[in-house]
């Protein structure tokens, strides 16, 4: 496949067809926990996207040059430690040098270490692209695009769902369905609507 077609298809997949939250079930905690208000949802997802891209930028070369093919079994440990260190480092860096961004996003950063979407995307990058087929440059480009599109897909799901939830708060719901159960049913409908995108860019 041509590089440009590949990139477009990666972007479409992350946003719509293979949405991180609604079809891969990664990052459900912030999706159900933080998505009550639209602006919180946006800030959280910007922070997640940012960390995803940086995490991919660091972990992919580590995987390519250091881990594969002999030390792949260290992948989980290395990736999670690198992500934890990166998040810590970004927090310190922003706090010291770019105060406005820190004030807006800094509080979300510690949350992100244990967010499965971030570890998930770094691992998916390793499995999604056939390492024997492309050169490192192309693989790196695809991985970064994948991280960006996954982050944007996360944002799309969060923002859409925040809108749905604001409506839910005023709805009359049976006692036993109140709270989490109805939220999950709403998420089911949201995810159902995303099924309609299947096939785009395939």
């Amino acid at each position: 496949m041509k590089t440009t077609t590949m990139i477009v298809s990666i972007l479409l997949a992350g946003l719509l067809t293979n949405n991180m939250v609604l079809s891969k079930f990664l990052g459900i905690c912030p999706f159900l926990g933080v998505s009550k208000k639209v602006n919180t949802a946006v800030s959280m997802s910007i922070a997640v996207t940012f960390v995803m891209i940086i995490a991919t930028a660091v972990t992919y070369p580590i995987y390519y040059y250091l881990l594969q093919p002999k030390y792949e079994y260290l992948e989980t440990v290395v990736f999670i430690l690198v992500i934890a260190a990166i998040v810590q480092f970004i927090e310190i860096f922003l706090k010291k040098y770019i105060k406005p961004i820190y004030n807006a996003l800094g509080i979300y950063l510690p949350l992100i270490t244990t967010n499965c979407a971030v570890l998930g995307i770094t691992m998916l990058n390793v499995t999604d692209f056939d390492i024997t087929k492309y050169s490192f440059g192309k693989l790196y480009l695809f991985s970064l695009t994948n991280a960006l599109s996954a982050g944007l897909g996360f944002m799309l799901a969060m923002v859409l769902f925040a809108g749905v939830r604001q409506r839910l708060e005023t709805a009359d719901i049976p006692e036993f369905m109140k709270g989490l159960p109805i939220t999950l049913v709403a998420a089911a409908l949201c995810s159902l609507s995303f099924l309609g995108f299947a096939g785009i860019g395939g």
Binding site: N18, S23, L74, V77, L81, D128, D130, T132, K133, G202
Partner: protein, 227 residues
């Protein structure tokens, strides 16, 4: 008993308490120790399990290859087409090439689909087998691994297109698995890719034979001149 308790519980505690005063050194040392122990444990487990994992994967692959094209040996080779590298296996029986087996992954519905495709020397499909459809929907996309679907490709050549279930009319049209058109299309794409690469390989070997003939001719004349 109490003495043992003292040794195991209090002595290390006292030892570590001495360290705890050093605010940067202590956490670093502890983290380092934990990482070292974990890495050693992983390396150990890997040493025990990796042979088994490798042989399992190999067995699965050779068994599938045996089912696709029966042969004595499968030699791994690589070719390049349009800037992409393809690994393939040359199936040989009694030193005669019976066909090529391609391992091709294609983007399916939930992730990548991995297919083994056997192609005869005349660029027709011998058989198709799916190695990994675990990312596809169970009950739908995963049904592409069934023989009912894959046998549609057999003994045909050319460019295939997947069409909605039950609407295939021509030989080159493949009935998709019901409500799993995307996965079916991915498999079809992989098969088409295999055929293109196979054509490419056959072209190269034809050209090689021609050039070889010319080269041997040259050498002969060289020898005669020396004489």
């Amino acid at each position: 008993m109490n003495k043992l308790k003292e040794i195991f519980k209090e002595y290390p505690a006292r030892f570590f308490n001495k360290f705890k005063g050093l605010s940067i050194v202590y956490p670093t040392v502890i983290m380092l120790l934990i990482c070292l122990v974990i890495t050693a444990a992983l390396a150990g487990t890997n040493a025990i399990t990796n042979k088994r994992i490798d042989t399992l994967a190999e067995q699965k692959e050779t068994k599938a290859m045996q089912r696709i094209i029966k042969a004595d040996s499968y030699d791994k080779e690589t070719t390049e087409l349009n800037g992409e590298k393809y690994d393939y296996f040359v199936a040989k029986e009694n030193n005669e090439v019976k066909g090529f087996i391609f391992k091709i992954s294609e983007k399916g519905y939930g992730g990548t689909v991995l297919a083994l495709i056997g192609v005869n020397v005349d660029n027709t499909v011998k058989a198709v087998e799916l190695l990994d459809v675990s990312t596809e929907t169970p009950g739908l996309g995963q049904n592409t691994a069934n023989k009912d679907f894959t046998k549609q490709f057999e003994n045909k050549g050319g460019e295939f297109t997947a069409v909605k279930y039950g609407t295939a009319t021509a030989d080159s049209q493949i009935n998709a698995v019901a409500s799993a058109t995307i996965t079916s299309k991915a498999v079809t794409k992989a098969v088409n890719e295999a055929i293109t690469v196979s054509e490419h390989i056959n072209n190269i070997s034809k050209n090689d034979e021609e050039t070889e003939e010319i080269e041997t001719g040259d050498i002969e004349t060289d020898i005669s001149e020396e004489n």
